[in-house]
Structures are given as structure tokens and as C-alpha cells.
Amino acid sequence: MTTAPNSWTHKDLCALADHTAGELTTILDTATAFKGVGERNLKKVPALRGKTLVNFFVEPSTRTRISFELAAMRLSADVVNISASASSLEKGETLLDTARNLEALRADLIVIRHKSAGSARFLADRIGASVINAGDGAHEHPTQGLLDAFTIREKLGRIEGVRVAIVGDILFSRVARSNIQLLTKLGAKVTLVGPPTLVPATFSALGVGIAHSIDEVLEESDVINLLRIQHERQRREYFPGVGEYTTRFGLTGKRAARLRGECLIMHPGPMNRGVEIESDVADGRGSVILDQVTNGLAVRMAVLYLCSGGAPFSRIEPNTQTP
């Protein structure tokens, strides 16, 4: 799909892999304009007044759901939240039927989080409402990728040529996949870091570098993005334990001291302090972890707005813009 720069003509956002650099830049530019709204006293604009948004979270989430909810409210949309246990999925209704019912209630936007890769795309292809992917299995988490890129662009002034290391459980990470898609399209140099079981060689086909030691990338990174490491039952055959992981891949104070002065430290949350990141590092110099959360709101406002048919903004002074 080719589109002119600064345009967005899609009703859905399912995967960053589906979109051009120009389209994704359009979202980032529009988010820049919306970020100003959040900084004002009156944090609300009427862009989606009269529209209904359903937060359909089949997999648990707090941060992303609240971020979408606030984004929708700031755009004056009406918001309904549905969790897996409150939906009819538990009674055996199919995902498609549940979504069709939401559409029959005239939902305009459906934000879905689901454990199955491709579930957002599956719905988007079959219903008329806008579908926004808030995480589908290990596939993509497009708004997280966008907010990470937005934060990098905001702090470093550019994305092209920026060296980004993404560290952790890449194999099972939708955050990593969305970051890889967006950052490589916008010209960043991405290196994936983790043990070979969590960063298999197949990732090299995605145009990224691979390293199996965090110490290799410390001095050569402009951004370190640390993913939450999990060691639940299904991960036990992938690495021996959290202790060994921290020893080999944790961003300790000692390692952080080797980072370049302007290196950004990012984390999509929720953090395991003392595991993938030492507590002081998370709160220290270079950490933009809370900026990511703030920026997530602006990015999600932009996505909801654009997928509802709103006209894109180019990069303009945030405070003079009233969408």
C-alpha cells in the first residue's frame, strides 16, 4: 500500500508492518499536535464527539487500556470497557460474533487486545468499525511501537540513524516486533539483544542486528529499550532463570555507567525492578520511561483520530492547534 506522505486513509491500525514510513510519520506528526492538548488546563477536544469506542480487552491489561480510555475521553468519545470475563467469549461465543454484536450496538471504534496473533486483523477484515490493535499475541503492539518512536524523536530530534538496542524476550514480544517494523522503516539501526533462545537467528531477516551479550552494545547505543522479562512456566525451557538473566542481560548501574551520556533508557512497562533493570537506573539519568507513558496518550489520540477519518496534521506548534 503506497500513500503520499502525510496522509492516512485507513480505518484500522492492526500492524505497523502494513504501513509505509510516510503513513507512520503522519501518525507521529499528528501525535505531536495532540500532545499539546494534554499539557493544557482543559484537556479535552471535540474531535470524536458522538463516537463510541469499545475497549475490548480479552487479555488483561491496565496501562494500555487506561491510556486508550483517557485518549478517547480527551477526544470526547464515549467509552465502554469490556474484559474477557465480562464478554460472552467465556460462554462459547466466537470472537467474530462478539465483535459483530459490538458493531450492531454501533460501536465506531474497537480497541482489541487478544492473546492470538492476527486477531485484530481478523476482525478488521470482517467488520465495518475501526479496529485498533492494542496487542495481539506475540505479533504487534502498534501504539507501543509508535509511542517508543515518538519518544525517541522527541528526545533526540530524529529517528534516522539512531542506534537502538532492544533487550530481552524478543521471541514472545509484540512490543519488539512493532518497534522493529517502525524503527527500521524510519531508518534507525536496530540491534536485538538476548540469549539465542529468545533472539533466534530468524530475526535477522527483519533487517536488524543480533547480539547475545548486552555488554557488546552499551557503548554503541543511542537508545536501550529493555523489555519485561518473564519466567513463567512456559518460558522455563528458554532460559534457566531470572538470576542468570540479570547477570547476563540486566542493565545494572555498572553497565549503565558505560552508556553514552545522551543514551535514552526505555521500558514499555510493567518493570521488574532488579531484574531487567536496576532500580536506580530506572529512575536515573537518561530514563524516559514515564515520558513514554505520557506520550502514549498523545499517540493513541492521534491513532483514534486518524482511523476515524480525521485530517492529519503536519508538524506544527502544538499549543496553537485546536483539533
Binding site: 508492518a17 466466537t94 470472537l95 467474530l96 487478544h114 492470538s116 496473533a117 492476527g118 486477531s119 486483523r121 481478523f122 477484515d125 495481539d136 499475541g137 506475540a138 505479533h139 504487534e140 509484540r174 516486533r177 533466534p200 530468524t202 530475526f203 531477516a205 527483519l206
Partner: protein, 429 residues
């Protein structure tokens, strides 16, 4: 009603008898005869290829138990319209075909509803559970032509070894769906670049290769034939090539989708591309085609696996594996192997769809010998057409080949001297 036939002027390819030339065939009372019977109806086969009725040793007709997907009647119509006169049904029905009563039920159902010959396989283990041996002797007496736990793979090597040893006394070949379960785990597609891109759990080729290697060792150890079903991986082909050169009684089959489609087909999460074993890479396709060309893979089959639309219309990881195959089988093999790759000759393809499967399963089919049942297929190997799944006689629609332009198809299918399907006139009933 069978009638006397005079099939006139076609290019007869009968690999079992080493025949390839223009000649006439005569049919009387359901068998092939050597002279023109009185009052024989003439079928003009000029410019056509006339072959023994095609045999597919790997189909799922879903009866008993899952007749919303397919029935023996509807499945047999898919077979007939694809040029197949004999099919071999897999035992993963409900109940499982692991007992003589179920085999008898299928045979009776086929006798009363099927347009083509339906042969049964029996399960290797009870309930396809991979633990206890099924009553193999009773299954042999009931007339099964092979044993398989298809859809499942016997994981326990001790159980598999004993089953192969036991089957030997009945001369029943053992067919295996090669999939090591701890490696394939919850995989839904080939492990590789596309599973990485799509974030879907991978089903690595290694899981197939390991069981192919196991089966080669067991075939060598026991001296009894083991047939590896639907080979999907390049390394499995190499293992089999080496084993066959050493004279080990192991055979293998390939399916149309494994030589025509790659895992990239899943890029839009279309469940019609979800199949087990999964679609793999171009390198795998190339090696499978090389294996077909050099005889490593000697049998072609469809793995016709119907699923209802509502069953496939779900999240990809929840959708069942499998795709329709019988109608597009011959056309895809002709399109890819003959027209595009020029990897094999037409007689070689016919051999892999007639004489070779008949020899493996000891069927009295796949030949145009005098006195043999008059199962005959007329083929135009160049017929250009586009497959439309909405025209399918199947009860299901799960095919990745919808809208595919293809060259070659069956024109007329004759079972026991009776025309059961014709491209112009359709089914007789």
C-alpha cells in the same frame, strides 16, 4: 449401471504395464476386455490422455461423526471430479476407525453412497492416543489397507516399534504422520522468517525430520514398510533419499500445497493456509520437487481435509489444520511439476498417482490390465481453467487455491465401467 464402452483414439498411459501410446480401450461388465463389445458406447478420447483411474491414498471424508465438514458421498464427488477413482480414508473419524465395527460402517456407507472406491485405514493405536496397540489383526480382517494414526504421530518409539513388528504378520504397511510433538509443541505454522514476522508459534521442520529419521531406522530394523505421509521438509527428503538408496523399505508422499505454496501465504492470517504439516519455504519446495523427480518421493496425494467455514472463521491459532485437495490435486501437480518446473514427465506423474500407490497398498487398481476393474480417467494435461471453490461438491470451502489459474485437469472419470463424472455433463446423479 455399467455399460459397454469403447474409449477411442486416446494416448493411453498405463505405467503398470509400461504402456504409453495411442490405442483403444474396451470395457464390458465393469472390467477391461480385449475386443469391442457389441453395442459399446463410444467415448472419443482423441487428443486426450487415458490413464488408470487415479488413486489418492490420503483423504479425510469425515464420516462417521463429522458430517458437517464432509460426507463419504460429498467427498467421493470431489474425488470423481478431480479424476480419482479410488481413495484411502484416514482413521481420525468419530468414533476413531480403530475397530472393525467402524470399518464395516464406513465400508457399508461407501457402498451405498460413494461414487468412487473407498478404502479404509485403521488406527495404529486405540483412539489415536499413541499408547495401546489397536486390534490390528481384526482391522486386517475387516479389510483395512494400511495402518496410520494420521493427524497424530505415535510419539512413543517402543509403541511404534511393536506396532510395526506386529503389523508385519498381516502384510499391512504402516503410514506415519511425522511430527515430534515436543518440538512442534503449539506451533501453528512453519518456524522461520514468517513465524518470526507474524509472532505465531513455529512448527519447525526439525520435528518432521526427527520422526522421518526414526521411521527410517524402524523400517530398517524391522524390514517392514513404513510410509511417511505428506513430506514438507527439505531435510526429510534428503534423509529419505539416502535411506531408499540403501534399500530400506521406506516410502513417502508429497501433497500439492507443499510444492506450490510457502509460509508467506499466512501473512494475512488466512486460515485457509493453515495445514499440518505446515507450508514451508521455497528451499523446501525445491527439495521436495527434486525428491519427486528422482523417485525419493514416489507417491502423490492430497491430504483432502475439509473443515466447515465457521470452524475456520476464528483466530488463526484456534483454527483447525487442513485444506481441501481432491479437485485441485491433479491440476496443481500438472501445473507445477509438468508445466512450470518441467521436473517430471506426464507418465511419471501418472505413475505416482496410480501404479505406485497401488503397489504400496496392494490394491487391485491403478492398472489397465485386461480383466482389471475398469477404473479409467481421461485427462487434458493442458486444459487452462481457474478453480472456483464455489463450484466444489465438497461441503466445505477451505482451500487456498480459490481463483488459481491452472493448466490441466481430468475430463472424465470412470469407475467400474461407469462414468461417474464428466466435465461437460457433470455427475450422473
Amino acid at each position: 449401471m455399467t455399460e459397454a464402452l469403447h474409449i477411442k483414439g486416446g494416448r493411453v498411459i498405463d505405467p503398470a504395464n509400461g504402456v504409453d501410446g495411442i490405442r483403444d480401450l474396451f470395457v464390458e461388465k465393469g472390467v477391461l476386455v480385449d475386443r469391442k463389445p457389441a453395442g459399446a458406447a463410444v467415448i472419443d478420447a482423441t487428443g486426450r490422455v487415458v490413464t488408470p483411474g487415479l488413486i489418492d491414498i490420503h483423504v479425510h471424508f469425515r464420516e462417521p461423526g463429522q458430517s458437517h465438514k464432509e460426507t463419504i458421498a460429498s467427498g467421493s464427488r470431489c474425488a470423481a471430479s478431480g479424476g480419482f477413482t479410488s481413495v484411502v480414508c484416514m482413521p481420525n473419524t468419530s468414533p476413531v476407525a480403530d475397530n472393525p465395527a467402524t470399518i464395516s460402517w464406513i465400508q457399508e456407507r461407501a457402498a451405498s453412497t460413494a461414487l468412487v472406491n473407498v478404502f479404509c485405514t485403521g488406527a495404529i493405536t486405540r483412539g489415536l492416543a499413541g499408547e495401546e496397540m489397536a486390534p490390528i489383526g481384526a482391522l486386517a480382517n475387516a479389510g483395512v489397507v494400511a495402518l496410520t494414526d494420521d493427524g497424530h504421530c505415535v510419539q512413543n518409539h517402543g509403541v511404534m516399534r511393536r506396532a510395526v513388528e506386529y503389523a508385519r504378520q498381516f502384510g499391512l504397511p504402516v503410514m506415519d504422520h511425522c511430527q515430534e510433538a515436543t518440538l512442534s509443541a503449539d506451533g501453528v505454522m512453519n518456524e522461520g522468517e514468517w513465524s518470526t514476522r507474524l509472532g505465531l508459534p513455529g512448527w519447525p521442520a526439525l520435528a518432521e525430520d526427527l520422526i522421518v529419521a526414526r521411521n527410517i531406522l524402524l523400517a530398517e530394523e524391522t524390514g517392514h514398510p513404513i510410509h511417511c505421509q505428506h513430506i514438507s521438509s527439505a531435510r526429510s527428503v534428503r534423509l529419505l533419499r539416502d535411506a531408499r538408496r540403501r534399500g530400506i523399505p521406506v516410502t513417502a508422499e508429497a501433497c500439492p500445497h507443499h510444492i506450490s505454496l510457502t509460509d508467506e501465504g499466512l501473512r494475512t492470517f488466512d486460515a485457509n493456509f493453515k495445514v499440518n504439516p505446515p507450508l514451508r519455504t521455497k528451499a523446501d519446495i525445491d527439495e521436495i520437487i527434486a525428491g519427486i523427480a528422482d523417485g525419493t518421493i514416489s507417491i502423490l496425494a492430497s491430504d483432502h481435509a475439509p473443515h466447515a467455514p465457521y470452524e475456520k472463521e476464528v483466530e488463526l491459532d484456534r483454527a483447525p489444520f487442513g485444506m481441501l485437495g481432491l479437485e485441485t490435486e491433479l491440476p496443481v501437480f500438472l501445473e507445477i511439476l509438468l508445466h512450470q518446473r518441467k521436473a517430471v514427465t506426464l507418465p511419471q506423474i501418472i505413475t505416482m498417482l496410480t501404479a505406485n500407490p497401488a503397489r504400496l497398498l496392494r490394491l487391485d487398481r491403478g492398472t489397465l490390465s485386461l480383466g482389471a476393474p475398469a477404473d479409467i480417467t481421461l485427462i487434458d494435461p493442458d486444459h487452462a481453467w481457474t478453480y472456483d471453490r464455489n463450484d466444489s461438491p465438497s461441503l466445505s470451502r477451505n482451500t487456498p487455491f480459490h481463483g488459481f489459474p491452472l493448466r490441466g485437469r481430468a475430463l472424465t472419470t470412470i469407475v467400474g465401467g461407469r462414468v461417474v463424472w464428466d466435465l461437460e455433463t457433470g455427475f450422473p446423479c
